[in-house]
Amino acid sequence: AQSVTQLDSHVSVSEGTPVLLRCNYSSSYSPSLFWYVQHPNKGLQLLLKYTSAATLVKGINGFEAEFKKSETSFHLTKPSAHMSDAAEYFCVVSHPGSYNNAGNMLTFGGGTRLMVKP
């Protein structure tokens, strides 16, 4: 079974300081992992994805995440927060479906709300 735990429901940082959003996963398969961001009243936007290539993944808007198999973690970081980063962030694990092992399904974590103070 697949599951995702986001260790903090809320994170508050000051503008210009580093961001760390923590995620642990459980997967029966070699996982594909994603981070999505959701701004208020908007859909989900893909920040970055890990699909068994380099363990350090760079995404959009200066975000990156490191896949650590031994720790089953996929934490999201950014060196310097910007006001526009305030949003809900979701860590997601993808796992193959039952249809010919294709048709991946996504399991989402509970989300972390990032607040950025001026």
């Binding site: 994603f34 859909g43 991946n104 399904m105 399991t107 989402f108 974590g109 989300g111």
Partner: protein
């Protein structure tokens, strides 16, 4: 290139009614998945359609059903609405293959059941 389009954006229904939500996938995508996002929670997988058939399903009752059309667009139907069905319903499109190329999500339909 248009992304995923969902309609309507907002909807208010009464308990016991039925509702239909619509989704047009991104151009070139052949698979549509539906997710329910309750307030303050992460999205949960409802089901996935490919080649006009439901291919996989999450832990949702039969009151939730869907359809995919030859042009790959999709509908989500919910019968006998309950207050607990109030949520943001997200549609995601993708290409069905083994490589995980990512999903494109629509902005969702906000359903309120009163």
């Amino acid at each position: 290139d248009a992304g995923v389009t969902q309609s309507p954006t907002h909807l208010i229904k009464t308990r016991g009614q039925q509702v239909t939500l619509r989704c047009s996938p991104k151009s070139g995508h052949d698979t549509v998945s539906w997710y329910q996002q309750a307030l303050g929670q992460g999205p949960q997988f409802i089901f996935q359609y490919y080649e006009e058939e439901e291919r996989q399903r999450g832990n949702f009752p039969d009151r939730f059903s869907g359809h995919q059309f030859p042009n790959y667009s999709s509908e989500l139907n919910v019968n006998a609405l309950l207050l607990g069905d109030s949520a943001l319903y997200l549609c995601a499109s993708s290409v069905l293959d083994r490589a995980v190329r990512g999903y494109t999500f629509g902005s969702g339909t906000r359903l309120t059941v009163v």
